[in-house]
Amino acid sequence: MTPISTGSEWTFDLIEEYDRAIRKIAVDEFQLDVYPNQLEVITAEQMMDAYSSVGMPVNYHHWSFGKHFVATEKSYKRGQMGLAYEIVINSSPCIAYLMEENSMTMQALVIAHAAYGHNSFFKGNYLFRAWTDASAIVDYLVFAKSYISKCEERYGIDEVEMLLDSCHALMNYGVDRYKRPQKLSLAKEQARQEEREQYLQMQVNDLWRTIPKRDKDDANREPARFPAEPQENLLYFIEKSAPLLEPWQRELVRIVRKVAQYFYPQRQTQVMNEGWATFWHYTILNRLYDKGLVTDGFMMEFLQSHTNVVYQPPVTARWYNGINPYALGFSMYQDIKRICEAPTDEDKAWFPDLAGTDWRSSLEFAMKNFKDESFISQYLSPKLIRDFRMFSIRDDDHEDKLEVSAIHDEMGYRDIRSKLAEQYNLGSREPNIQVWSVNVRGDRSLTLRHTMHNRRPLDEGSAQEVLKHVGRLWGFDVRLESADSDGSITQRFEVKSNLELQRL
């Protein structure tokens, strides 16, 4: 076979040819199941645009995106940072951006990484299947953008901006962690939005009803607790129950909530997703080389970039910044493949169900049915722990020193594995804050409760700031309490509604 190309310049024909060769390997040889692909060639400026609108091809306008853009542009112009080679959007067709400045090798790498790696992950992983609807997201954002700009015309940019600020502050608390959301579609969404608005309008009319109310029964009853159970989705609760919001404001809360929900799976599958894409670009491009379709020079360039991506600096390095998800994910998939193909005695003892099975289907199973937390606790092997020389450090504010609680030895493997898994558990990374109660009879104040984990407190400055946003949305007093494991309150925050909340 002759190589597809030898130079580093790319052309559209070459991209097409590489894509065809990669597709043949990815889909025909390795049976990756992917959404249709759409490869878009863009310039560096456009890449910066894409960056600052969180990668989405359309998005509503907000100053915070402008801030990201300004920051990105600044550091790019100063040469402090290169742009990412690729952005890929979980949509159908799956959109992958190829930057004009890339060499042919990098374009091939991006195609393998994004258009086949990430793409198949989006299509296969259970979280994405359950939470996001790839075919509808772009349409939904189109709807959101036009709805929000209509609101800006009608109610003023400031009003809308203030509301979005408040919603963004609670974005991480706008997701359903357990309940499965409904699928979105543009037409349905518009119809539903109108219906909702009309319904709410009717509710308002109810106030004018002349029929006398019969409130005798209510008076004797024990005041019902509201909400009946604590609510984890703060934005949902606000959308449905905040007393003073107008219909359009509720709709905006809903939009932010939907977008948060869309990104929720990505936040939970960093290691798995990046690892999967990296594993496949590595496997596919090596296969291209085996088939003689690419040159030695191509491989050198690719390997150089690949090793940079999967480099894990040790804790002692100056630029150490936590565990590199690319490195960990890539090594884990490689390791699963190794355990399937050439298990050692240790592997057989640790992974009796995995050792010696067909690697391709085992890998597929691992990709489909886990998130970072469960993936690590299921598949992190003693060999990898040794290779990374992992150790865990316990920082207890009751002790005067840090303690090394486990290292990469026989006694430590399980410990390290469960601790690393815990580290990727969003539930323990973010403070657990839920809607606790609303004083329905009295001042209508809203109380949130933070349930402490390992006695970890809230950061006071930011908690107070965010609470102001909650207060703005709720319209009456809001309180936030931190409860430790035996239920006693250790921190309290309060925002009074008479505070000037308009401009935070």
Binding site: E40, I42, H61, H62, M390, F391, L420, N454, R456, P457
Partner: protein, 424 residues
């Protein structure tokens, strides 16, 4: 099969709206940065971007997160020396638990968020203060008129621009160059033929061959084209900003003790605005700074704005000096003379009548425009009344009482209105 789309020609300014929203939100900070810049800069250097820095605290978007304290366990890679049960000193600057790099990053999170305003954005903010009408803003920000000038020759262009002399000269050179080797061998061949003819043993065959060769060479020479597309040269024209003419701008300011920093700052904006206007209309602008109290001196810009004097005020001294300078350096019709005078209205009583006279006789006949601002809160004084009389007599004299920067523009209203006429 994947779908490949070239998006490079799509607009790249998708984020423009978001950027504008961002500027809008931090308008107060940006305004402050701009007025700081206006204070710091020379009035001839008003047209470049500006760095703006905003404290990170103001710009951050808060979210709930954990604070220090409680129990934290973290897994790190790259263990070198630790074994289970080791106890280590807490690293300084945060209980990050070994993640040294991260901890210090958190600690230094108070850096300012710094970014560049483009020239347009800078001027926009600057103009906002001055309450300029939109039309004027675009006039001031717009690019100057362009003129086509010759700039040598190029290899391609439209037939109308062919430079005949250049093209033919090129063709000649090419013909010479291409013919040279053929001519040389032709010469040789002819010599050979002569020799053959002269020599005794005439061989008809060889002579015929030689003749044939000469014939071929002649044909080859003839086939060199007289002119080739390759020879064509075109007149090249490029666009250059149109040099209209030259102007001199006099900045006259009262620096007596009563003019404080804030009033001077206001005056500076007034001068800048006139300068920007002149820059659009004139190719070359000279700026003359005259400051005065009881006597007037010509100074450089630095001294003009920053040194302080005290004492009384005699406005006519400055006007006299200006008249002198005009006579000495800017007489003649090639100079357009503009003047801007800023004062707080103080003047010696007996001097105001003088001022009116100098204006009428020595200055206004030569000036295109003379603008006067009085920066004061109080009642107008005699200079103001004197100038009011001048204003009635002279059309190109404008005056205004100023309390804030937005009052400046009306002084120039006449001037900017007249602009289309002066331009043509």
């Amino acid at each position: 099969m994947s779908h490949i789309i070239d998006r490079r020609l799509n607009g790249k300014n998708k984020s423009a709206v978001n950027r504008e929203r961002f500027l809008r939100r931090f308008k107060a900070q940006i305004k402050e940065a701009v007025s700081r810049a206006v204070k710091g800069r020379s009035i001839t250097d008003i047209e470049s971007g500006e760095k703006v820095s905003i404290p990170v605290k103001d710009i951050s978007e808060p979210v709930f997160h954990h604070g220090q304290g409680g129990v934290r366990e973290q897994v790190h890679p790259g263990n070198e020396e630790f074994i289970r049960g080791d106890r280590i000193q807490r690293p300084q600057g945060g209980g990050g638990g070994g993640g040294g790099g991260k901890a210090s990053q958190d600690g230094e999170g108070e850096d300012d968020f710094v970014f560049e305003l483009s020239r347009e954005e800078f001027l926009n903010v600057f103009f906002d203060d001055l309450a300029l009408p939109n039309l004027i803003k675009t006039q001031l920000m717009g690019v100057e008129e362009l003129k086509q000038v010759r700039a040598g020759y190029t290899n391609d262009g439209t037939p109308a621009n062919i430079s005949i002399v250049r093209s033919l000269r090129g063709a000649l050179a090419r013909r010479v160059a291409m013919a040279a080797p053929t001519l040389a061998s032709l010469g040789e061949a002819e010599e050979d033929l002569d020799q053959l003819l002269e020599s005794d043993e005439e061989s008809a065959l060889e002579v015929r061959d030689q003749r044939k060769r000469i014939h071929l060479l002649r044909e080859k020479l003839a086939s060199i084209p007289f002119i080739d597309p390759f020879d064509l040269r075109y007149n090249n024209r490029i666009k250059q900003p149109k040099p209209t003419s030259q102007a001199v701008m006099f900045c006259i300011m009262d620096v007596s003790g009563s003019m404080d920093e804030q009033k001077k700052d206001m005056a500076k904006r007034f001068f800048i605005l006139l300068y920007l206007f002149l820059q659009r209309n004139y190719d070359k602008i000279e700026v003359v700074f005259i400051r005065h109290h009881t006597s007037a001196v010509e100074v450089n810009e630095e001294d003009f704005f920053h040194s302080r004097e005290s004492g009384g005020t005699v406005v006519s001294s400055a006007l006299n000096l200006m008249a002198d300078i005009v006579k000495k350096r800017y007489s003649g019709s090639e100079w357009n003379i503009y003047a801007a005078q800023a004062s707080d209205g103080d003047n010696w009583d007996s001097d105001s009548a003088n001022c009116g006279r100098i204006m009428d006789e020595q200055l206004l006949p030569y000036c295109q425009y003379f603008a006067y601002i009085e920066i004061t809160e109080g009642e107008p004084q005699n200079l103001w009344y004197e100038y009011l009389k001048v204003k009635e007599r002279q059309r190109h004299f404008a005056m205004q009482k100023i309390r804030s920067a937005s009052d400046i523009y009306p002084v120039f209203r006449e001037l900017f209105k007249r602009q289309p006429a002066t331009r043509a």
